[in-house]
Each structure stands twice: as C-alpha cells, then as structure tokens.
Assembly symmetry: C2
Homo-oligomer: 425 residues x 2
C-alpha cells in the first residue's frame, strides 16, 4: 500500500494536537483514505524544547529540509503569522506539495495568491481550521451548500470575546475583570488585542465571505470594532430590552455590494446565537434554497483545531489516491465590490447623559430627525447629579447618517457625554 | 466545454424543487463545477399531470428510457419507496451512471448493496438529502470529521413530530389536536404513521450511525418508539422537572456494541436541542477531537431538500470533470454488533396512579429496589378520586431491569394504572 509522508510546521498547541491525532488515527488511515501515512518531519524553532515532546529524529529547525525533501507530499502549516509561513507555503507548492493550513491571518490577506499558486502546481490547499476551528463550515459551504445563492452569514467567530461577554452577562462582571478571568483560564492571550478588537473574527469573516459569495474579500475590507468599550451597564440595558450583547461577524451579499464587518451587537435573547455561551462558536448561514442553517461547536483549542486539520489531510490523501489533487480550489469566480461601512444600514443602541431639563429630549429627537434617524425605543433614567441617562434604539439607518447625528449631538452643551453606541440586530 | 446530462426520477415536491434549483443555477455550473449541465429527462407516473409543470419533451413514464440513454450521466432519484426505485438505481449503476438519492427508506435498509454496486461500477452514490434534509451532515461526517472517533450522535431528525411537540409544549395542546394542526399546515401527511411512530427518524439514525461508526446499521436494527402516547400532562410534569420532551434519535458507539434508537425523551430546557422548535432539525455529534458539534436547519421541504441534492450533483460533476468518480463511497470498514434495547441504560420518567394510602409508596420503592432501579426524583399529587398520581424519575438503569420492575408494578392491586414511561437524558 502507498505510504504518504507528512510534515508539520510548528509544534505549539495546535501542532501538538495534530501530531497526537494523526498518531492516534494512523492504523485506520488505510481504511479511511486508502493510503498509509508517516509523519516524516516537524519544523520547530527550538529543538531542545521540542525534544521533550517528540523524538529528535523527527525534528528540524530548517524549513528547506522539508520543502526540498521529495518524499514528503503533504505539509501542515500551523506555525501562524505572515512570514516565514507565506514563503514556505509558496515554496511547498512550487515543489508540488499539498498544504493544509490553519493560518487565518495569512489566508485572509493573501488567500488569492496562495490558491493561485496551489492551482498552478496542481496542489491541494485546504484550510478548514482557519475559520471556526473544529466546526465544519468551509467544506459544507463549498460542497453541501454549493447549490445555493448565499445571501447572509452571521456568527460568533471568536471564543475569547464570547467567553468575556458570557461572564459579563451571567456574572455581571466588568470587561477588565472578565478579561482577567479569561487570561487566567487560558482563553485569552497575554496580548489579547487581536481577539478583543475583533481582528481575529474579521479574518474569519473575510475568508468565509469570499467562499460564500464567490468574490474575494480580504481582511483589509472588513470593518472591525471590538468589545473593549462594552461595559456592564450596556449589558444591563440590553437585558431590559430583551437582548444579549454578542461580538458578531456579519457578511451580506446585497444588490450594491458585499458587507463584511465585525462588531458587538444586541440580539434578541431568544435568538439561537444568544444561547451560544463561553468559548463556543456558531455560524448562521442563509441560502436561497437551504433557508437558515447553523453550525455550532468549538472554534479553537488543541484537539478541535486538530480535528479540522486532520479532516483536510484525509481529503488530500483521498485526492492523492484518486489522482485528483486540486479538485476543489479557489471558488471566487465573481468580482463584487465591498461596501464602505458608511453605506451599511443598521439599527443602533445609544446611551448618553444629558441635562435633565425640559426641551432636551425634543432637541435630541430633532437632531436625529434632521439626519434621517428614527427612534424606535427610548428608556430614560434620572441620575443623582442632575443629569438623565438616556438609552435610545433607532430604526434602520445608514451609518453615515447616524454618524452625522452623533457628531451634532456630541457638540451640544446639554449633552454631557455619549457613553455607548452599539448596533442592534 | 463538456456538458453533463442529468435525469430526475420523480416530479413531486422534492423533484420539482430540484428541477427549479438546477435551472436557477444552470448558468453558473461551469464556474461551480467546470461543466455545463442539461436536464435531459424526468420520469413521472402521470404524464398529463406533469405537463403542467414542465415541457412534454422532458417527460417519460418509462424508466428504461432513462437508464438506457447513454448520453445521461447523472440520475437524481426522488421518487421514494423501495421499488421500483431500488431496481432502477441498480440498473443505473450497471449502466455506469452516477446517482443522487434522497430515499432514506431504501438506503437505511439496502444501503450496503447499493454502495457496493456503485463501487463495482466506478460510480458515485451520494445521499446527503436522506438525513436531515437541507442540513449538511453526511459529508461533514465523512470528510470534515473523518479524523475523529465519533462516540455519540443525538438529534431531532423529524420535523413533523417536532412541530407537534412544540405545539403541545408552547400552546398546551393534546397530541391529536396538534397532529390536526400539523396536517392542516402540510407538516404531516394524511397517514402520519412513519413520522409519528419514529420510523422516519429511525431510518436517518441507521444511515448516520453507519457513517459515524464505520459499521453498517440498518433500519431493522433501530429501536423506534413514537410520540402518539405523549400527552399534555407528561409535558406539564416535564416542565416541573425543568425539561422539554423531544423525539430524539440517538446513536452511540459503546464498548459492547452500537446503540441505535428513536424515542421521546425529557431533556433539560437549557439544552441546545430543547430550543430547536417547529419543523427544524438539529444533530449533535460528539467526537474525540472535535468534542461537541451541532448542525441545525430545515430537515425537509421542497427547496431545503433540493439544496442537499444539488450540492451532491455539483460534487459528482466535479468528480466527472476530475476523473475521480467513486472517490468517497462506503465507509463501513468495521463490523460492530448492535445492542438489544434491553441492554441499553437509560434514566426513566414514569407516571402512575396508585391508591392514596400509607405504605403504597414503600411498596413501589421496594419493587424498584428489588430490580436494581434507583429513584432520583419523585413528585406526588393527590387526585380527587382517592388515588395519588406519582411522577418518578429513576437513575440510570438497564432497560430490562426497568421493564421487570414495570411488569411487577403493573400486576399490583394498589396500582391503578401506569400512564407514561418516557426516557430521560
């Protein structure tokens, strides 16, 4: 029986998981994929540290040793970051090797050239793990739902921020406290910026939107807004309005362009995404035939990510066995514009402090009215210092109209401060 | 560009949906699959009736005309039932044609021989639509989750019964009334037996268990119990216990065999499956790497089912284009035993009427104790006629022990009647 040699680039959390899972399934690979496998090499930065995990004979700190080894057919890139990952993958394609990657940063920005290089060299390039970790989503979009015109995607793509928001909602914590707990439990990194500011979710939205709408969306196209400004009071008001606050990734294919964005959002507490708690991810998809479908599971972690990667590896093994590598590559056969965020329509929740005297509310309402913003709900609470706290929910309005209203309100002497602006589903 | 000719067997609800969706996506097929398509023939029973839907030149009432037409490469079987569907599909494979089917009755009973015939003739045989309609589940299991050892599947596989139970739960209806509403709205057929008694869900469990555990499970192996005996009072008690009642399909791969069953079950109201309402389906999967994953969407209906079928067709078109038909066929490479239902462990909810006098409860508890059944919860309510209504929840117990206890209780003079027995998650 044919034996396929595999190399792993990186032996961090995910790399270790992939190594473990491939070893665990090794005996069954002939039944699953029709070929035997062997893990031939693992690229690491620190040989001594890595020796504690796997045998020295498997390790190398020189990526050329892997790319130039003609006996290796499949490379699993789990090192992350733009470089040297990009260079190594491009070289791997040139050497005719198939690549599985979990590198959302790289794919969200340079997916097009990577997929083109894979195609030019007759190679598979699969990256199920790059979006929503263990949840099957990219392959279902490219295959199972391929008969649909997908119009909407909405999901919770980041476990760290979902964990923080869950703590803030269920335990009444403030953001900083919930972030500290997330760090203590290993859900947040030492520098949590990419998660907390929505960049991580934005990369996933870019990749998924490209596949869903058949038109390239890069990370730089995605509007991102994080959760660091959300506080316990906003969550309290959301509850009064029958809502939860979630960090959502949203992508829509509209008549005048693609919308791609990540931002916190008030969603009704009865919405299926509201019940997605802690570090779980979930993705809602709407297609013209399938209607609504949802995919739910663990969006990160050693073994869930390894699950997605090994699934991709098995698919490549089958392609090698059947001589059809490259069978499903880039599916971007359209070129659609991406809308500027100013042109996107949303409803907004706004919390502000204003002087508690007659006529102020009329003035605020007037500013909204002059900028084409309709108010659908209003909660007013008196504070102790002579100011009133107002929570306002608007109807659907284009972002730039709303921003104009906010600018005018921000400059008025009767308004003490605008504390929060959060979109509403 | 190559043109692939397709035939559809059946022009009922699903067949019409498939015809519509293929026509809708026709222009894009070269981009999606690398080939053009043409719907060449549609098999119908009644030519005159079908003429109102599509042009006469497309129709035939003779299946041999399709199977013997060498220009047709792909056959979509949406006629349902065992025969003549089985014969036609077998003949189609012999003629080298690829087949997509939504026929769960056929696949759940004769999947093995169909998959073998497909393999022997180098053909694709895909049936994503046969389980959970539009929800991508079979391909994710065979590909995305292929790196996992799947241990558990649990899901709502039948929209009709879920609609009925939702009506009973939310509106307090009795079964018969909810069934009537389901019929009026087109969710239930004139003869609702296959849905209501769990046979439809049982077929899906058989197919999914075979794929998940790599060992053939046929419909005849699946224990099925329906919802016709559930009444509003059971649902009331379930609510008191913090639970909802759902008709669940369950499949487990245990150390001493596969469990495959369909029955009503009390599940905690906070469980994600409890929030699956109306005609929606959802499938929970547990694997050793991915942990928990859930797939949710529409399990039936014209266009959701067509979505799954057209996804399969596109995959076959790619296989034709890449010359790799048969790439993913039967994945049953193990032979595991299927447990008898008596050997399955469950918790039980039991509602009974007993004489309301001292010592009766001790007697009942004694019978349970003698049969290795532990009681974990008990609610007693006095009725007006001198009897007490008891609702009992047991700990985990093997079914045959519990049945023994029920037999003894059923023969006791102090017990007026045993009204309900429902399993508990």
């Amino acid at each position: 029986m044919k034996k396929v040699k595999i190399a792993i680039l990186g032996l961090g959390t995910v790399g270790s998981g992939v190594y473990k899972l491939l070893e665990r399934r090794k005996q069954e690979m002939p039944s699953k994929a029709g070929v035997e496998i062997e893990i031939a090499k693992i690229l690491v930065r620190n040989l001594e540290k890595a020796e504690k995990k796997v045998g020295r004979e498997l390790l190398t700190d020189d990526w050329r040793e892997i790319v130039e080894d003609e006996s290796i057919s499949v490379i699993i890139e789990v090192m992350g970051g733009m470089e040297p990952a990009c260079t190594i993958i491009m070289e791997a394609f040139r050497a005719g090797k198939h690549v599985v990657s979990a590198n959302k940063d790289l794919i969200a920005s340079r997916g097009k050239e990577l997929l083109e290089a894979a195609k030019d060299n007759g190679c598979d390039f699969l990256f199920e793990a790059a979006v929503a970790g263990g949840i099957p989503i990219l392959r279902p979009m490219k295959q199972c739902l391929a008969g649909n015109e997908i119009s909407d995607i909405m999901g919770i793509f980041n476990g760290t921020t979902n964990f923080i928001l869950t703590k803030m909602t269920d335990d009444g914590m403030e953001f900083e406290d919930a972030l500290r707990v997330a760090k203590e439990l290993g859900y947040a990194e030492a520098d949590p910026t990419a998660d907390v500011e929505g960049y991580d979710a934005g990369r996933k939205v870019a990749i998924l939107a490209s596949i869903a709408f058949h038109s390239r969306v890069v990370f730089e196209d995605v509007y991102t807004e994080g959760i660091s400004k959300i506080n316990a009071k906003d969550i309290q008001y959301a509850k009064e309005l029958g809502c939860d606050i979630k960090l959502l990734g949203v992508a829509k294919n509209t008549d005048n362009g693609i919308e791609a964005r990540v931002h916190p959002m008030l969603i009704p507490s009865g919405h299926p995404l509201a019940s997605v708690k802690d570090a779980f991810n979930a993705v809602f998809v709407h297609g013209d035939a399938v209607d609504d479908a949802m995919f739910y599971g663990r969006g990160a972690g050693e073994m869930p990510t390894a699950s997605a990667i090994v699934g991709d590896v098995i698919d490549i093994l089958r392609d090698i066995e059947w001589g059809c590598c490259g069978r499903i590559g880039c599916s971007c056969y359209r070129e659609l514009p991406v809308k500027a965020i100013g042109d996107v329509e949303s409803k907004y929740f706004m919390r502000l402090h204003a002087e508690d005297k007659p006529g102020v509310l009329a003035t605020i309402a007037g500013v909204f009215g002059n900028n084409a913003v309709s108010i659908s709900k209003l909660i007013q609470k008196n504070t102790q210092d002579g100011f009133a706290e107002l929570a306002i929910v608007t109807d659907l309005v284009k972002e730039y109209h709303f921003r104009d209203a906010v600018t005018v309100l921000g400059g008025m002497s009767v308004i003490q401060k605008i504390s929060s602006i959060i979109r509403v589903l």
